[in-house]
């Protein structure tokens, strides 16, 4: 059933035939090509699709297309042609990262600004005013700090005039809605693909009949997506896919596919998987579970569904066990023991996993939403048995990844396969339910930790048993990470994976580390509490890393720390507390990468096959090259996000900056040398005007691969002292993941101030201070944005984020952004970020990556702050109202 609506869109009249079921966002994106309006949650929660309906912001995903009749719509594209003051403020304040939520925020913020100015002139609105007005928007990167500042400044008239410059190279494209993401690509004759998924947590697929689907009008192709084994191991696993002229037709066709399953017994959740007689997820000798870590999982034995222990990073394990047992025996108060639990945290990047595939004869062109164009292009070639050169993968802009988009994933396989079968371009984009249920999460774990403290020396013994639950995936290394921070004469560290019939966990921003911090950093805090010692003083006593020693000193002189209350000293309804926690991470870089720097048509360019997922690598590359020539970053053209460029790193493992800055410096220095030589031929001059020289230079390029780091006397090799296990790990990571482990650790110290409402069970993080030591910061404004986001994601991890499941059916219940709750703008603390820029002088460029280190210890610092406020220690994440109320009453 359809009807015609007459609607004005950005001032242009349209007459559009719409179906009654359609939403305005579908009409805008798919019919009118206005892809600045993004579809994210589809339930009016995130605001990414916000448009103005007769001047009033509404979410176009919930706006029936029929309601457009006689109305005027304004989308982000209609805010122009000149930039609105709010758009300029967003650029200047770097109020965006991946850019996917940005158009929605802007449309609302512009409406708020214009209304505010009519009513209040240039009075500055409060943070609360802005938060209330933008409460219907979410940002997964956590750009709220910049957004609040930008909107307040714009309302105060500070951006009424002026230029539109800012630290992020591609900001203009993102604030105007021009930036193109994978799901925005639309080829002539493009079909829409959808995936048929298993309703069973464990089943053998007996047969799949696609013919009834193929018979439906408008169907381009129907394919199977099963592996050779034809067994599904979790609800939602891919079984088949259909491509049709539009999503609704494809969904109707899916319903016609006949699948016969032989349901098998299932083990849902780690508890069920360990019971006597539990159904085995894998059997036989050739178990190949997916990995939830960033590298290949260490070898280990299986006992039923339990994989492990992996204890290679232990050190005098038996002695540690004995020390702990003896301390327990004598009731030693310096033995801190507990079981800490964490929840599955979903990545839910705002751009869903999406892929648009087009075949051109033998050649394949793919637009993907990926954190690794180079790697995924190779994986595509391998999967489809093609020559590498025939695969062309583009990811110009990527709407967030956080670790879940590092490899070839099912939507890409489906789109390519469907496009081949249909002989037409095909797009497959996951909806939010699929994204949250299936497309990646940080595994949960149960962590038993015992720590033996001392009155005056270092840590005496540490015992950790960590049981990771990543569904069908393995790769837990929580206990292993506890090796690296505080030295002790004896450590017994054992990791286990409990596989079960739930979707696979994936690496998520500092895999395993926030879990390790949640347990270890609270145990250290508890030790300080029992010793009656300042938690920072204790860490200064135990922690040898120079960067963190400096960061501890910074925190100790910070008023936030100074003014913290005495633990458990408060009685009223609202109790304030301050907590600290430390984090530690490796300096990793990708091997085999290159950068090309050159001059083309009188303009400097940098090119490499990296991608910008919101981290700001474009700006890092531009400013690194620009510095070599004393130019502004804007003078450099950056070419990334294309598998045809020279091989670049994945945007993961905090590796992109650490890999590319040294190479870019080397290549740019070579270009400079050649330009000087060229100048010397042309004319001699002492004062080089690089801009002029480049403008008049002939085309030239220089390529470099990664130079070795300098010798680093005094900087530790991370796995030194871990013996054979360390050397094997290093070699395996090098060979299998093509990742080098550099010298030195990065470190962070996080401080959080909370207000605990003991009546309504709510915890608010009021202020946060993040001290981050990752060497020289390549692009400070963007690094700061990333660190703000790390803190905000940590707030979510601590307080709100938890995937909710049905433990009988293996179904994810919180399959939308309404039920899976990420932090909103109103939950944003005042955040201060401090960089310690020393410690990586041995790396060309003197700095490494900081995306992961900025989030790891945040939740633990909040846990410690809650303890400081209430005297009650939270062991389980997230610290929900029900848990808090129960805890403080006990």
């Amino acid at each position: 059933m359809s009807e015609t609506v007459r609607v004005s869109v950005n001032g242009e009249p349209h007459e559009i035939e719409v179906r009654k079921e359609e939403s305005a966002v579908e009409v805008l994106r798919d019919r009118l090509g206005l892809t600045g309006t993004k579809l994210v949650c589809g339930e009016g929660v995130c605001g990414a699709c916000t448009v103005l309906l007769d001047g009033v912001p509404v979410t176009s995903c919930l706006l029936p297309a029929t309601a457009l009749e006689g109305r005027a719509l304004t989308t982000v594209e209609g805010l122009g042609p000149d930039l609105h003051p709010v758009q300029r403020a967003f650029i200047a304040h770097d109020a965006l990262q991946c850019g996917y939520c940005t158009p929605g925020f802007l449309v609302e913020a512009v409406a708020f600004h214009d209304r505010w100015r009519r009513q209040h002139g240039t009075d500055e609105p409060t943070r609360e005013d802005v938060a209330q007005a933008l409460a219907g928007h979410l940002c997964r990167c956590g750009a709220y700090v910049g957004i609040l500042a930008a909107v307040r400044d714009a309302c105060a008239g500070r951006f009424d005039s002026g230029d539109s410059s800012g630290p992020r190279l591609e900001a203009r494209e993102k604030v105007t809605g021009e930036a193109v993401y994978a799901a925005d690509v639309r080829h002539e004759g493009q079909l829409e693909g959808v995936i048929l998924r298993s309703p069973h947590p464990h089943a053998r697929v007996i047969f799949v009949d696609l013919e009834p689907a193929r018979a439906l009008a408008g169907i381009g192709a129907a394919i199977e997506l099963l592996g050779k084994e034809r067994v599904v191991r979790y609800v939602g696993q891919e079984v088949a896919a259909v491509a049709a002229t539009d999503r609704h037709t494809a969904e109707r066709a899916l319903a016609l596919v006949k699948v016969r399953y032989e349901p098998l017994p299932a083990s849902i959740g780690a508890g069920a998987a360990q019971r006597e007689g539990a159904a085995a997820v894998y059997s036989g000798f050739r178990r190949r579970p997916p990995s939830s870590g960033e590298g290949p999982p260490a070898p280990a034995r299986w006992h039923g569904n339990v994989r492990g222990p992996v204890g290679a990073f232990s050190h005098r394990a038996r002695r540690a066990r004995r020390l702990v047992a003896e301390a327990r025996e004598r009731g030693d108060p310096l033995l801190v023991e507990g079981t800490w639990r964490t929840a599955a945290q979903v990545h839910t990047a705002f751009e869903p996993h999406a892929c648009t595939a087009r075949w051109d004869g033998e050649r394949l062109h793919v637009h993907g939403s990926t954190q690794a164009v180079g790697r995924v292009a190779k994986q595509i070639a391998e999967h489809f048995e093609m020559e590498d050169e025939l695969v062309h993968l583009v990811a110009e802009h990527v709407g967030g990844g956080f670790g879940a988009k590092q490899n070839l994933s099912p939507e890409t396989v489906a789109a390519i396969e469907l496009a081949r079968a249909a002989r037409a371009p095909v797009r497959v984009a996951l909806d939010r339910g699929e994204e949250i249920s299936l497309a990646g999460y940080r595994p949960s774990a149960e962590i038993e930790l015992a720590l033996l403290a001392s009155h005056s020396d270092g840590l005496r013994a540490l015992q950790v048993r960590a049981y990771g639950d990543a569904g069908v995936s393995v790769g837990s290394s929580i206990a292993a990470l506890c090796r690296m921070v505080y030295p002790a004469p004896a450590k017994d560290l054992q990791d286990f994976d409990i596989v079960n019939h739930m979707p696979p966990g994936l690496p998520f921003r500092g895999p395993n580390a926030p879990l390790a911090c949640w347990a270890l950093e609270q145990a250290v805090d508890e030790a300080a509490h029992r010793l009656g010692e300042d938690p920072i003083a204790l860490r200064r006593r135990w922690d040898p890393l120079p960067q963190r020693q400096r960061l501890y000193a910074w925190v100790q002189s910070h008023p936030l720390w100074h003014d913290r209350p005495r633990s458990g000293s408060q009685q009223g309804r609202f109790r304030r507390g301050v907590g600290v926690a430390a984090a530690n991470w490796l300096y990793l870089y990708q091997l085999g990468c290159e950068v090309e720097v050159g001059v083309e048509h009188g303009r400097l360019f940098v090119a490499t096959g990296v991608q910008d997922i919101g981290t700001g690598i474009r700006s890092v590359l531009a400013s690194t090259a620009a510095d070599v020539f004393d130019l502004e970053p804007a003078a450099v053209e950056v070419r990334i996000g294309d598998s045809r460029l020279v091989s670049g790193p994945a945007s993961g493992g905090s590796m992109a900056t650490a890999t590319l800055v040294p190479i870019t410096l080397a290549a740019a220095t070579e270009v400079r040398r050649r330009l000087v030589a060229h100048m010397a031929e042309a004319k001699a001059s002492d004062n080089v005007d690089w801009a002029e020289l480049i403008a008049s230079a002939p085309d030239l390029t220089a390529r470099a691969d990664r130079p070795d780091d300098d010798a680093a006397p005094g900087v530790g090799r991370p796995l030194a002292g871990t013996g054979l296990a360390g050397r094997l790990t290093e070699r395996m990571v090098r060979r299998r993941s093509k990742v080098g482990i550099g010298h030195g650790y990065t470190g962070a110290v996080h401080v959080s101030e909370v207000e605990v409402d003991t009546l309504l069970g709510r915890i608010r993080v009021l202020r946060a201070a993040a001290g981050i030591g990752a060497g020289r910061v390549a692009a400070p404004e963007l690094a700061r944005s990333q660190a703000y986001g790390g803190v905000i994601q940590g707030v979510g991890y601590a307080l709100y984020e938890q995937r909710q499941d049905d433990s009988r059916r293996g179904i994810v219940l919180s399959a939308g952004l309404e039920d899976y709750r990420i932090p909103g703008i109103g939950d944003t603390p005042e955040i201060e970020v401090h960089f310690d820029e020393e410690g990586f002088e041995h790396v060309p460029g003197r700095g490494v990556g900081l995306g992961e280190i900025s989030t790891m210890a945040v939740a633990a610092s909040i846990g410690n702050a809650v303890h400081n406020a209430t005297g009650w220690r939270p062991y389980e994440l997230p610290i929900r109202p029900d848990r808090l109320l129960e805890g403080i009453r006990a």
Partner: protein, 320 residues
């Protein structure tokens, strides 16, 4: 092509599911949980009006946007509890697009109900899967077979006002009657398939009413309440002369707490009286294994709402 109905009669003849602002309908449509083609009510005449009678009572059309209930000065002055509830629910965009009638008749938020692959009582199934499954957000007044709390914040506020709803071709119905007593696990409201809610009839405004709305959530803004409450008071000096209290998020229907009202009426607004009244809010409650925490949140939310109502100084002025 079937145009949207332009009279109530046409709308009553059409088959499908009524759609007002669409904010609930479109989401259920997307997740495969709507019962039929939409019948748009946007072209029905006169449903977006507010009319006042000579007794100072408003009749609010069902298609009046939620945002209007909060921003219309006359409404906010006459019915401050309704206005505060309307201004605090959902998000600004939803309040702009959603309507009064749509809010009252929206379907519940239970994740089992909203999941396309699951069956439940409200989808014609045999039992409530949340009862034996994950009901963390469920009721703590277990009044019927379904354990999902009623989602309508405005329904709760209107209950505190003793409002009535107008139904096309029928007599006005008390809000309590619109929802029933919670024993019917199959419906979120008691209207039949072809019945259309056309308006809400408010009582005459009371002079010197002070009111407050508050909700318990984990995040600061824009979250479905774990527990919510509306309190209306009229003071005579230090004595509470009149009290109306309704709560939501705790039962299959919005609840009016008469015991709490009685414990307040005629007594001084002292800390003890408020605390005792708030503690009575859980009498008759029967929590589920995962919802015990809601009992404490309920009395806590009532304390908070009572205190805010006492501090309240009039529409447009901050009560915090």
């Amino acid at each position: 092509m079937t145009p949207a109905p332009s009279t109530i009669e046409e709308a009553r003849q059409a088959s499908g599911e009524y759609r007002a602002g669409g904010t609930d309908f479109q989401q259920r449509l997307r997740s495969g949980v709507s019962s039929g083609p939409p019948i748009d009510l946007g072209r029905l005449p006169d449903l977006d009006r507010v009319e006042w009678n000579e007794r100072g009572a408003a009749r609010i059309g069902a298609m009046v946007p939620i945002a209007t209930l909060a921003s219309d000065t006359r409404l906010a002055t006459a019915y401050p509890g309704l206005a505060q509830a309307a201004g605090a629910l959902a998000t600004p965009q939803i309040r702009a697009a959603g309507t009064l009638g749509g809010n009252l008749l929206q379907r519940n938020r239970c994740w089992y109900y909203r999941h396309p692959a699951l069956s439940c009582l409200k989808k014609g199934g045999e039992d409530c899967p949340a009862r034996s499954g994950n009901h963390l957000l469920g009721v703590c007044f277990d009044l019927g077979p379904c354990v999902a709390p009623h989602p309508s914040t405005l329904g709760m506020a209107l209950l505190a006002y003793g409002a009535e709803v107008g139904v096309a071709a029928g007599a006005d119905l008390p809000v309590a009657g619109l929802y029933g007593d919670g024993t019917d696990g199959r419906h979120d409201h008691q209207l039949g398939e072809h019945e259309i809610l056309t308006a809400v009839q408010m009582p005459p405004a009371l002079e010197h009413e002070r009111a407050a709305y508050s909700r318990a959530t984990s995040r600061a803004l824009a979250e479905w309440p774990l527990v919510e409450a509306v309190v209306r008071l009229i003071m005579s000096g230090e004595t509470i002369e009149f009290a109306a209290v309704a709560v939501g998020g705790v039962a299959p229907v919005p609840l009016r707490l008469e015991q709490v009202e009685q414990a307040l009426t005629g007594r001084p607004a002292s800390g003890e009286v408020l605390a005792r009244a708030a503690s009575l809010s859980t009498s008759g409650a029967s929590s589920l294994p995962m919802t015990r925490y809601k009992l404490e949140l309920l009395s806590g939310t009532l304390c908070e709402t009572l205190e805010r109502a006492l501090r309240w100084r009039g529409a447009g002025r901050d009560s915090r």
